[in-house]
Symmetry: C2
Subunit: 239 residues, 2 copies
DNA sequence: GCCGATTTGTCCGTATGTATC
DNA sequence: CGATACATACGGACAAATCGG
């Protein structure tokens, strides 16, 4: 980002992550931050609201902005932000690989539309992939993309990162993502495609993604082996 | 809430929910809303940002504010906001009941502190409850509350709603909640306390809750029978 | 208990930038 | 190019909560 508030957000976030601003201590007051960053108080407030929504701080009226983030011990795979598979793998320091199982163009039937949230008759790309970590197939993705939104997509690109292609090559911006987490039985197909060991249930993340045009261009089911799965979220009352 | 922006948020949200502003249509422009609600520019923007964070709309520069919410078919139990067990049950139209299994005062040991995020030596209330829907025990909660934050809490109150007691009687305000969803094996204790049928795995929501003082006063593990469990979340890129 | 200083929360009005049509 | 619409940023005013003297 190139905006002032976002750069300040990143700077403050990094200072929380590296311990400059420690758990249960107060950050410098608004008036201080205004001097430090040479900007208006509203800009500082915006930065702090992003910190709050990410669960880093909690402003307390009359007292200050309290740091409530603690470095986590566990490895989070999915966090309360949109990030690509590659970003998440890299963040956890894992060697990751993707294998494309299905890559076909279809037309949405009535029932598929009901299931995915697309409209009947939409031209879709049906994509199935497994995500492999350290030679173990841990995640299976069943995706449907709106064909018109992703011209020129090839199996080769799908093996890398669809999001990176959409954002860097097509110039699309992914904006909003509605996600639902459930737990489901493993199917024969799951067992076939993944290294499931003895697990008979999976963590399932269903994902509806909107681009900057407000078009829902992706509906994905990510099926995770449970021992690997973590989903993190921060909620703020009344926000 | 009594603030202007929140009342406008509620009004706009309700109009989306009842179909006044339909899926994939644009809301009235900022300039229109200013006239409608007789308030400033910035106040409208604040309301719309809350709508966006809740996944109702997506503003598109140069075009307008697009409604991207669709009424859902499924019953959500946990949503991207903080709500009490009773609120969630009521919203889903379920007859719910709570049974208290454990109610004891303890002091946090080194290992418990590591597990819950409290400090060793903290005086805690250890509470275990099962949530019963239509005569089936579907959820088991293992909670630790900071004793000092909840004076006067009795098993009787715990059977009702700890949050309602904290907010309405003690005047505490719950602010931030960090939640993590994982999937775990059912233990013998789970099988004992819940109606698990043949399920051998559970959806586990681990919850760290902060009050308005920035004090983490609750650490809860909610263990859900998978066929009942849904967790919903909206993520906004860069927010 | 009161008062004043500090700090966050809300709201306003204005100006400028950027994207769309 | 001009009109419209959202995005960012500024500065000011007042309210509400906290804290110390």
């Amino acid at each position: 980002m190139r905006t002032i508030y976002y750069e300040i957000y990143e700077d403050l976030r990094d200072k929380i992550l590296d311990g400059t601003y420690a758990y249960q201590t107060y950050m410098p007051a608004e008036s201080q931050l205004i001097k430090m960053y040479q900007c208006s108080h509203n800009t500082i407030r915006k930065s702090i609201s992003v910190l709050m929504l990410h669960g880093f701080v909690q402003p307390i009226r009359g007292k200050g902005v309290l740091v409530i983030y603690r470095p986590e011990r566990r490895a989070n795979f999915v966090l309360g932000d949109i990030e690509t598979f590659k970003e998440a793998a890299a963040r956890n320091g894992l060697v990751a690989q993707t294998k494309v199982l299905v890559f076909e163009h279809i037309t949405a039937s009535e029932s598929l539309a009901e299931l995915t949230g697309f409209m009947p008759g939409d031209e879709l790309l049906h994509l199935e992939r497994v995500r492999i970590f350290e030679n173990e197939a841990l995640i299976r993705d069943k995706s449907f993309f709106l064909s018109s939104a992703l011209p020129g997509l090839t199996p080769r690109i799908a093996e890398d990162s669809v999001y990176a292609y959409a954002e860097n090559v097509l110039g699309m911006r992914i904006v909003t993502s509605n996600r639902t987490v459930t737990v489901d039985y493993a199917t024969a197909e799951d067992r076939d495609a993944m290294d499931l060991l003895d697990f008979d249930m999976l963590a399932v993340v269903t994902n509806h993604t909107f681009n900057e045009q407000g078009v829902m261009f992706e509906s994905t089911q990510s099926r995770h082996r449970p021992d690997f799965f973590t989903f993190h979220d921060t909620a703020v009352r009344g926000y």
